[in-house]
């Protein structure tokens, strides 16, 4: 999340993503964001003149920037397509509906590392489990722990699906689903 941007929008350089990510299946390369315009960006964070970090960050932090994607940029992109500057993609619904904010907490970072996924690989309901678990632990005065989380919640990957979901372990139901179904969330990420 550290791409820099000038006020003028030069046309994005052509990047041959298929050649760059030979490992990626077509449906992954086809998962591109509709949020490519500065209007989409402004709609999310507010007018630049009244720049509001609260739409994506817990506090103002010069190291955290949220930017719209370029046209045709697949969700599997990495810093090779961004002049070597590290960043990650994040679905808008997770900011808007679930209220996740950056930077990730230590627990969130450790969990993503443990289950070995990128932030955009996790289904929104999974993010809701993570957020609600953090709230519960905060109430009970204990630090959220990856081991405790994975005692109650398991990681599921459906067949060849590229996204990962989290679900309650039978007999240890701690949290309900945030929403039975999320619609239209794919194709909307920053």
């Amino acid at each position: 999340m550290a791409r820099t941007k000038t006020t003028a929008n030069p046309p994005p350089p052509f990047v041959n993503y298929k050649a760059l990510y030979t490992w990626a299946p077509n449906d992954l390369l086809d998962e591109c964001s509709d949020l490519v315009s500065s209007k989409a960006w402004r709609d999310h964070i507010g007018e630049p003149s009244t720049y509001d970090h609260r739409a994506f960050a817990k506090r103002h932090d010069n190291n955290i920037t949220m930017l719209p994607c370029t046209l045709g940029e697949p969700v599997c992109g990495d810093e090779r397509a961004n002049n070597g500057v590290p960043f990650f993609y994040f679905y808008q619904v997770v900011f808007k509906c679930i209220g996740m904010r950056l930077p990730f907490s230590r627990f969130e970072r450790e969990l993503l590392t443990e289950i070995n996924i990128a932030p955009a690989q996790l289904h929104p309901n999974g993010w809701a489990f993570i957020k609600a678990f953090g709230v519960l632990c905060g109430f009970f005065g204990c630090a959220p722990s990856v081991d405790v989380f994975l005692h109650f919640i398991e990681v599921k990957k459906q067949g060849k699906s590229l996204w990962v979901s989290l679900s309650n372990i039978l007999g240890r139901v701690l949290l309900s689903l945030f929403q039975q179904s999320f619609k239209g969330w794919k194709g909307k990420f920053f």
């Binding site: 709230v135 519960l136 204990c142 005692h151 240890r172 689903l177």
Partner: protein, 66 residues
């Protein structure tokens, strides 16, 4: 990925698991919506758990601090 069993966990985590198990299932959307409202959150959680569970859970902070 295999679920973590209680036996595999350090003592503090085991205690946390027992407490969370004893208070049971919560509504994720409600928890998230009450994140910044401590009083309403306490009320919601106390409605979902018996006073005994909350009494036990109050000790977890102490256990983890030691």
């Amino acid at each position: 990925m295999k679920p973590k069993s209680l036996d595999e966990l350090p003592l503090n985590d085991r205690e946390a698991c027992k407490i969370l198990t004893s208070v049971g299932g919560f509504d994720t959307a409600t928890l998230i919506s009450l994140e910044y409202n401590a009083e309403a959150l306490a009320q919601y959680i106390s409605m979902s758990a018996s006073p005994y569970d909350l009494l036990v859970s109050a000790s977890i902070g102490f256990l983890l601090d030691t």
